[in-house]
């Protein structure tokens, strides 16, 4: 993946090593409240490469989103360190954008204004150009002046992805971005996301509890155990895109993943 790197439009400097983008070392998170200590994440060690598509799966409530929040800098870990391009993460940063499951777009802004939200520092012409580019990329042409309340759930999520990509982040964190969509829209959105990922080449960390979603999208699937979450296994999906979801190798990997997650998922 490394040689594909970032698109030429990227403002972020290329990393010194094209290898590891994101590095987690002994990351642990303990929530404290009511005098109780609840360990959520325990000793997470993970390297994610430049341009890689990684899915985090695990039982619901295991701490997938917590891990994503640590990576995104929203939550400082209780122990351990997160580094991106060799530098420690200390808080959220426009170079790494988190896409939420729902309600992530601003309802008081139009589609165009949402996409331009992070571009207020740019000259007007360049901003307009970027907005037009990303409107097109997520196929929202004709809706530039619409408000999110006029959009379907799938369109809103595409808008959120467009707003994120517009600021040229080098990492995209997606927290169950299709979880609130119906199953058909979800299938379409997976295809759309893959298309966008292949044309914009960013590092993507994608949280899901959907096994099919993970096997269909990811280069690697990180399986978390139940709480307190540890990395239970990492599955490499060695099928090129577009993936045939009824091919024997696909089904084999899918079964493999189901086994790794445990019986709770096959029931």
């Amino acid at each position: 993946m490394g040689e594909l790197g970032l698109s030429t439009k990227a403002v972020a400097p290329l990393p010194v090593r094209s290898g590891v983008k994101l590095h987690l070392e002994h990351v642990g998170v303990v929530f404290e409240g009511d005098g109780k200590r609840v360990p959520v994440l325990e000793d997470i060690n993970l390297d994610i490469s430049e341009g890689e598509f990684v899915c985090l799966v695990g039982p619901s409530g295991c701490g997938k989103s917590t891990l994503l929040n640590v990576m995104g800098g929203f939550l400082p870990p209780t122990s351990g360190t997160t580094t991106i391009d060799g530098k420690a993460v200390h808080g959220p940063d426009p170079r790494r954008i988190l896409v939420f499951q729902e309600h992530g777009v601003f309802p008081w802004l139009t589609v165009a204004e949402n996409i331009g939200f992070g571009l207020s520092g740019l000259p007007r012409a360049e901003r307009e150009q970027r907005i037009a580019h990303y409107v097109q990329l997520v196929r929202l042409q004709g809706f530039e002046q619409s408000y999110p309340s006029d959009l379907s759930g799938g369109m809103k999520q595409r808008l959120q992805v467009a707003r994120a990509l517009a600021v040229n982040p080098d990492i995209l964190y997606l927290d169950e971005p299709f979880g609130a969509l119906d199953s058909i829209t979800r299938l379409i959105m997976r295809g759309e996301l893959l298309r966008i990922w292949q044309s914009e080449k960013r590092t993507i960390v994608f949280v899901t509890h959907d096994v099919d979603e993970a096997v269909q999208l990811a280069d690697r699937v990180v399986v978390l155990s139940s709480r307190p979450a540890k990395i239970q296994d990492i599955l490499t999906v060695d099928i090129p895109h577009p993936r045939n979801i009824s091919a024997p190798r696909y089904l084999e990997l899918r079964d493999d993943l189901l086994k790794k997650i445990g019986l709770a998922y096959t029931a």
Binding site: P92, P94, L98, E102, H103, W108, Y147
Partner: protein
Amino acid sequence: MTALSKPARWEQFFWPLFATGLLLAAWHYGVIWSKTPVFPSPLAVKKGIVELLHKHVLWAYIGDSLRRVGIGYGIAVIVGVPLGLALGWYPAALQVVNPVIQILRPISPIAWVPIAIVMFGIGDSPAVFLVFLSAFFPIVVACVSGVSNVQTVFRRVGRNFGLSPQQLLTRVVFPAALPQILIGLRIALGIAWLVVVAAEMIAVDSGLGYLVMDSRNSGKRYDLVVAAMLMIGVIGLALDIGMRRLETMRSVRWGYRA
């Protein structure tokens, strides 16, 4: 016309007019049949309005009442909105000030009359002060709750895009809270209009509230009393409709859907 079907266009106008006509008729015949010496008939009230217009006091009084509301309410918005936003933004500050607000809030502005007169004497100022008081607390409370009800997702997106705290307030928190703030502003304007009439009965010699009292005191002109009441109602309605129009702006309409 069932509860579910949308009424036809003619029905939207016909039934309200019909109800109004019915009410006027009931009023008219009620006055005739009861032979009341005090309460004027609708026709007498109409004559009263014409008389007021001829004496040129009506427009002047309406202007005076609107001016007092404009100034008092305007100051309440200018002071109350930033204060409410700040208190919503800094929960620690809210904790400090909240008890004071909660004690002052339920006091009717009318109870402030003696103090208003001691502080501001006679004239516009005490009335403006009472209007300000009546609008101030609803505005502050609406802004505080508007800000604290802003979804955390919006704030997190704002932080993620690298906004400074000040940008976060102006570009995310304020627009997110605006639908609720506008409701507070509308309610506050309604209260201000109620209070200016009461205030004008006490410390000034112009305005619609004064007109009500003066018409009664000088010659028991109940036709003029009711005429003034009607004007108060119509203007109050116009103010409310004006504020409601703000709520249909595209950038806030999302906030009023279930």
